[in-house]
Symmetry: C2
Subunit: 401 residues, 2 copies
């Protein structure tokens, strides 16, 4: 290994992810062979909805201003007026008074989570994550010397607060939740969050601070009249990390924020640490133009009705085809049971029908596969008969009953 | 320390940097007391020149297109056509054929450097940095488990290649240079770079790969007809990291790139590692709109003549006032000799004259202080008499001869 061009850990990670690369290459080859429009790529959570019209108008107006210094550095946490605006929205959403001084604008939620972990983790610290989980969490935690400890969720993917309690050790530094959840589509309810918040706050004072970190980029994408309950209200030791990637359909622009509960222990030191880590990790500050845009847009969002329609299309279709799954309550993923125990094998089987999905094992949820439905309706409609064929052609006796 | 709200290392860094914060607070207090226009803030390399007009036109045109998916995810390295465009420019600048597959678009140079270190460093690896150096380098290297090893430069701040050679150990993973240099304003010449490149390439094959990393956001800002020589041409094991922050005056937008020499050992694995680390560090991809903008702008840049004029104004003024320094060849900093040995004390002395600068000790260059002259000419002109007063009022016998 002495002559590796990259670090050993990175080399190992590249090797480990080589099967994902191979699957990606299969997809690329399929598209080349059958034509892009005949391959149903349901792998990537890249919203296909356009940003709301106001987004374009806002950027155009900001650019037309040609405001002096508007593309230069600002304080590392973000423009003070942007922080205040975001603070007001967070206060309204989370039932706790949050000022601009408790906000850091970030390079999306992924950047925000890295900043949080860099700030709070000592080497070997544990972060408890309910599984299945967003596949990148392990890397985000490991980047900063932490260790991801995963715990089961209930059969319907709701939080198992007792399991989290049982997993807590002296090294536990945080519990990281993602609601609405990628990959399961589960939305955590107020009672679950209250129980988890109480568990975490009960430790305050008896040990080093433990944080509840809520990663919630899908907060606005919920169905059936559900509403994502507040987080900060349920837990003093709480930090919300989110982005505008899904609510405005601008994931490529990398804009989001961290909101810290002002009641958490040592909040000022925590904020100073977050701002410093945002700087030294090389983010420096969140992209300037997008900061001003999202503040001006405030409550604008994409047409979530379109996602509802797609969810119903894909779910009705999968049911018709004979698949088993819990209907997602939020986000835009179906975490479907694999008809055979080996989810990687089933995902490969689906590829023969030109359907690209992601095996559950990558999310800590083996025996499932993830279908992403932020794709045009026509893709879903045309994929359904192929899903059915794939299931119908499984060798008899191999499918789970 | 058991109840710290942040990690121990971060807590230590916050404590260590508290004097910087105090200086910042002094500056804020001075501005409040005397009025912003009567305080000469020469601390921050935040270009005050506006971006070129084409920048605004380009963004406006891109927004007007309302191209489908233009604010969504793209491949993590960047848009393929943007990578190709940047590759062509890099090829022309660096005298080596570089295709789009050797480029990663990044969240500025700070983001790019973090991605490079995350990718190449094993725990305890050493990165050699000539001093004085950009103050953030230590953190960037430490973030990813490396250790910064600093070496002297020559009296005129040019590279001391023998000193670098002498500092090399079995744990050396990279040599990091910054040219034109912040804080010294030195531009490294072709012969120095060739000698350094030969030193690094001579190790190839005999040990694990060592890299020459050139951080060059100031490449376009050079004076007196000088031109920054190519880097990639001088060293097979080379990586260029840069940004558009200074050439387009858009540091708040966080856009830059990494260019890898395609001849370096294991270039494909290195590229795969860089792309993965750009993703898992939470950058995911460089901001989408800015990627398209900088590719469209290609060779546009701010009016560097304005910086020449400011350099001459500040240098002539400082000379008149009796200060000693090397006239900067590039960037927009004067690294001035402190008239008394203690540069922190002298910077505090300057504050009494409403002049804010940064002590050299923070850059590994004690006995100096840094003046940033990317400020309006009037600020420089009005600051000169105050600089003179500050020097003239030093207690007799305290100033260096």
């Amino acid at each position: 290994m002495a002559d590796l061009p990259v670090g050993e850990k990175i080399y190992g990670a590249l090797e480990k992810s080589s099967w994902i690369r191979r699957m990606f290459e299969v997809g690329t080859a399929l598209k080349k062979e059958h034509g892009e429009e005949n391959v149903f790529d349901l792998t990537l959570g890249n919203p296909d909805l356009d940003p709301p019209l106001e987004f374009f108008d806002t950027i155009a107006a900001l650019i037309q201003e040609r405001k002096k210094g508007a593309h230069g550095y600002m304080p590392n946490a973000g423009y003070p007026d942007v922080l205040d605006t975001v603070g007001r929205l967070v206060s309204a959403t989370h039932g706790v008074e949050v000022g601009g001084r408790s906000i850091v604008m970030t390079c999306g939620a992924a950047g925000g989570l890295n900043v949080v972990f860099k700030t709070i983790l000592d080497p070997g610290d544990e972060v408890i994550v309910p599984r299945p989980y967003f596949a990148e969490y392990g890397a985000y935690i490991d980047n900063h010397g932490g260790r991801m400890v995963t715990v089961d969720t209930a059969a319907d993917f709701s939080l198992d607060v007792d399991a989290i309690d049982a997993a807590m050790t002296a090294r536990t530094r945080a519990v990281l939740i993602n609601t609405p959840n990628n990959p399961t589509g589960k939305l955590y309810r107020e009672a679950e969050l209250a129980a988890l918040g109480a568990l975490i706050d009960a430790r305050a004072g008896t040990t080093r601070p433990v944080y509840l970190i809520a990663d919630e980029p899908y907060r606005e994408i919920v169905y059936d009249g559900l509403e994502a309950p507040p987080i900060l209200k349920q837990c003093r030791q709480s930090i919300v990390v989110t982005s505008y990637s899904k609510s405005l359909s601008i994931p490529g622009e990398r804009i989001g924020y961290i909101a810290v509960n002002p009641s958490c222990a040592g909040a000022d030191t925590l904020m100073a640490g977050l701002i410093m880590c945002n700087r030294i990790l090389g983010f420096v500050n969140a992209p300037a133009l997008m900061q001003r845009a999202v503040a001006a847009l405030a409550t604008a969002r994409v047409n979530t009705q379109a996602y509802t329609k797609r969810r119903d299309l894909i779910c009705d279709g999968l049911e018709y085809a004979g698949y088993r799954f819990d209907r997602p309550e939020g986000a835009f993923y179906v975490f479907c049971k694999s008809p055979i125990p080996d989810d990687v094998a089933f995902v490969q089987h689906l590829q023969r029908y030109n359907i690209l999905t992601v095996p559950g094992v990558g999310f800590g949820g083996p025996g499932h596969f993830r279908i992403c439905y932020c794709v045009p309706e026509s893709v879903i409609t045309r994929a359904i008969p192929r899903f059915k064929e794939a299931l119908d052609t499984l060798p008899k006796g191999t499918a789970n009953s």
